[in-house]
Amino acid sequence: MKPKILVLTCTYCSYAGADIAGVSKIQYPPSAYIVRLICSGREEALFALEALREGFDGVLFTGCHIPYDCHFISGNFKARARVALLKKLLSQLGIEDSRVRLEWISASEGDKFAKVVFEFTRELEEMGSLPKFRKISELGVEEHD
């Protein structure tokens, strides 16, 4: 089993880039799953944390190239700041911060989309799968108010 990747895309650049990979029949592992949002500015840290908890091995944040490609002016910068903070949070939680990755993919870069999925898959393979998270309630530890 290949490591499972959640790919968060914006509509205007990276989702279109993934479509172009399809139109050009550029192959990549079927273990990458795309969820489309309108803008990379909408790519929430919570989505990545939930994905990792639910069993994804890595989360790929994608958006339009910096500095000027974002159709909503600066969604890509917001995604960049958010991913940087998320990486810090992950290391504090004892999770490899490289399980979260950020890439700029334009609407014409189908080849880049595929290349990034391959690279990330290989990296995650080296890391091995993420241990299953359990909720505190499942651990039998009493919660304090």
Binding site: D19, P29, Y33, G41, E50, F72
Partner: protein
């Protein structure tokens, strides 16, 4: 409880050739709230759409999932189908099992089917949570901005104007005409270029619906489809357009001489000038970098000679603000820099020129009055090598075909043959692509007139010991390297986007293809539309093309703009955000992340809460992601919906 209908498209073999469609249907049918789950060969066909409408009525469906191609191309089609069946178009969710599944995992059919099942289940999970969205009709400004005054911009402007709408045509140079005005003749008919373009230029200047803004640049665009606010910088000409009669006495008397950009550096112009005699408007501009008055504070001859006192050294740049419903981008091309192909000696030997430079030499209003003379030698060339495909179709330079180089090479061979009948002409081309109407016939004609065609690419241009140039070329039919002794080398340069288009790209936030030209939404279905609604592209701004294709595409872009204006309204952005005032803490982080000033903090019942102005909200969802209390939701992309999808994909 929602009642979900799921439709899995075969897309012929595109999907069904890789994915086990029946297995998808079996698995998805088990999902909660799925009432109907079917597959069909072509969902987008009239029969496929009818199937959905029929089921909506028969089974009382209120949420529809279509598992097919990309929502980028087909979502509007299925949304319409829902509308026709009386269901809100926002109760549709698509699963992209073609572009992002079957096409990219062709060799892993089992795994790809597993993935498709998860994708469809995720779409079902989201569909169950979809909510109604209200959109408003917003009126469309009844005017169009055309950027670029070449033949593409001219055609688009005239078409829109003739349809009865107001047009603003903005050109950065002092005259419209673009590259076509520089050409002597056009292939394959050998029409005089300025004779067919000139009347159109005059029509632009005189049409009551067109406001022509030359020597101007678009510097800022705000707003959205139907309602763009545009700022245009009208640079100071230093000549009053309302007074100038175009007598050009000033130009005659000006004592300075500057290399002419219009003549591609082969001729000279004055510091106060019109770039060419047929310029529109026929109002000169002062080049303040070279004018003696602006550089040294002396002269003022033009001011003295002007009979109508039109010269105004104090004239300043102006900012013009307009509002338009649509924008057509026609920024055109530039020749690829010949210095980037150094083996052909451009810039080193004066006898090496580009195709556009030859056009100026051949032109009756060019630097040599139409006599083809070797630059620097002032002699007619007796032997000429024309190198097609310079920089084009070359991994080191431009990987793509310029689409005009072959035909230009043949046309240029004709120019020389026609004005110097005894000349020996070699056309060196990897192959001659004469694909258009009348092109192959033109190719045969040129061959029959004694032009020597060599299949291949020249490797180098040298100074030969005899003083002329030596062109090295391998001829595969002879299996020999030939050294052609010539007096003139013409480089048919590849085409690149006009450098000024990069600025326009930033202003409009347009995407570009890997070759650098503006990216269309779909190369076949929507070739003049861009990812920015209401912004259209045409001509060489979109990709290299010849004049017939440019004109056809310009008319197409004009039609798209007219379609938008004639309809009269656009629908408001559906995916706007809303605030749950109960959970909002009034921290204002959302205000700081919003680029569109759509959120403000207001006092309500003694509490500070965020308030969204949906007319300004563009629906990016940045605030929803940034809100620390999770009080902001984006319609159609709610936290609950996205998390439901992630959960379904993780299963």
């Amino acid at each position: 409880m929602p009642r979900v209908g799921v439709y899995v498209c075969h897309c012929g073999k595109n999907i069904a050739g890789v994915l086990d469609v029946k297995r998808i249907v079996r698995e998805v049918a088990k999902e909660e709230d799925v009432v109907v789950c079917k597959d069909y060969p072509f969902m987008c066909s009239s029969e496929g759409q009818r199937l959905i409408a029929e089921d909506i009525r028969r089974h009382n469906l209120d949420r529809i999932v279509v598992a097919a191609c990309s929502p980028r191309t087909h979502e509007p089609i299925f949304q319409e189908a829902l509308k026709r069946a009386g269901l809100s178009p926002f109760f549709l969710e698509m699963a992209n099992i073609r572009d992002q599944c079957s096409w990219v995992h062709e060799h892993e059919k089992e795994l790809a089917t597993d993935k498709a099942i998860r994708l469809v289940k995720a779409a079902v999970a989201k569909a169950r949570l979809l909510e109604e969205i209200r959109v408003e009709k917003i009126s469309v400004k009844q005017s169009v901005l055309v950027i670029g005054g070449g033949v593409a911009g001219i055609t688009a402007a005239l078409d829109v104007a003739k349809a009865g709408f107001k047009v603003y045509l903005v050109e950065k140079n002092s005259s419209i005409g673009g590259h076509m005005a520089q050409l002597d003749k056009t292939f394959p008919t050998l029409d005089c270029s300025i004779c067919i373009l000139g009347p159109l230029m005059v029509e632009v200047a005189t049409h009551p619906n067109i406001t022509l803004l030359t020597y101007s640049e678009v510097i800022e665009v705000e707003g959205y489809v139907g309602n763009f606010k545009v700022k245009i910088l009208k640079k100071a000409r230093k000549v009053d357009e309302t007074k100038c009669t175009g007598c050009l006495l000033c130009m005659e008397k000006c004592p300075t001489r500057v290399p002419s950009e219009f003549d591609r550096g082969l001729g000279e112009r004055k510091s106060i000038y019109v770039p060419f005699p047929q310029a529109v408007p026929r109002v000169p501009v002062i080049d303040t970098e070279h004018c003696l008055y602006f550089t040294k504070g002396v002269c003022r001859l033009c001011e003295k000679i002007c009979p109508v006192k039109a010269i105004n050294y104090e004239q300043e740049d102006e900012i013009i603000e307009i509002e338009v419903g649509a924008i057509i981008v026609a920024t055109g091309y530039e020749e690829y820099d010949p210095r980037k192909v150094p083996e052909y000696g451009y810039g080193m030997f004066t006898e090496v020129i580009t195709g556009l430079q030859l056009e100026r030499l051949a032109s009756s209003f060019g630097p040599t009055r139409g006599k083809i003379l070797v630059p620097g030698k002032n002699k007619e060339p007796q032997r000429v090598a024309i190198l097609a495909c310079t920089g084009s179709r070359d991994e080191k330079n431009l990987p793509y075909c310029c689409r005009v180089g072959c035909m230009n090479a043949l046309k240029h061979a004709w120019y020389i043959k026609h004005s110097i009948p005894g000349a020996t002409i070699y056309v060196i081309a990897p192959d001659v692509r004469s694909f258009g109407k009348g092109y192959e016939e033109f190719y045969r004609r040129i061959r029959s007139e004694g032009v020597i065609l060599i299949k291949g690419r020249a490797s180098e241009v040298h100074r030969s010991p005899e003083g002329c140039l030596g062109v090295y070329v391998y001829d595969p039919s002879l299996d020999e390297v030939l050294v052609l002794k010539v007096d003139l080398v013409v480089l048919e340069m590849g085409l690149v986007p006009n450098p000024a288009s990069e600025k326009i790209r930033d202003v409009l936030k347009l995407s570009k293809s890997t070759d650098g030209f503006f990216l269309e939404v779909h190369p076949k279905l929507r070739p003049v539309e861009t990812s920015i609604e209401g912004v259209f592209i045409c001509g060489c701004a979109q990709s290299p093309k010849d004049i017939p294709d440019t004109v056809a595409q310009a008319s197409s872009a004009a039609m798209k703009a007219v379609e938008l204006l004639a309809k009269g309204y656009v629908e408001s952005v559906p995916y706007v955000v809303s605030v749950d005032e109960e959970t909002c803490s009034g921290c204002g982080i959302c205000v700081s992340v919003c680029e569109f000033n759509a959120i403000e903090i207001v006092e309500k019942n003694d509490r500070r809460v965020a308030k969204v102005n949906t007319a300004l909200c563009k629906g990016c969802g940045s605030c929803a992601a940034a809100c620390p209390s999770g009080a902001i939701e984006q319609a159609h992309f709610t936290r609950e919906q996205v998390l439901a999808m992630i959960k379904a994909l993780a299963r």
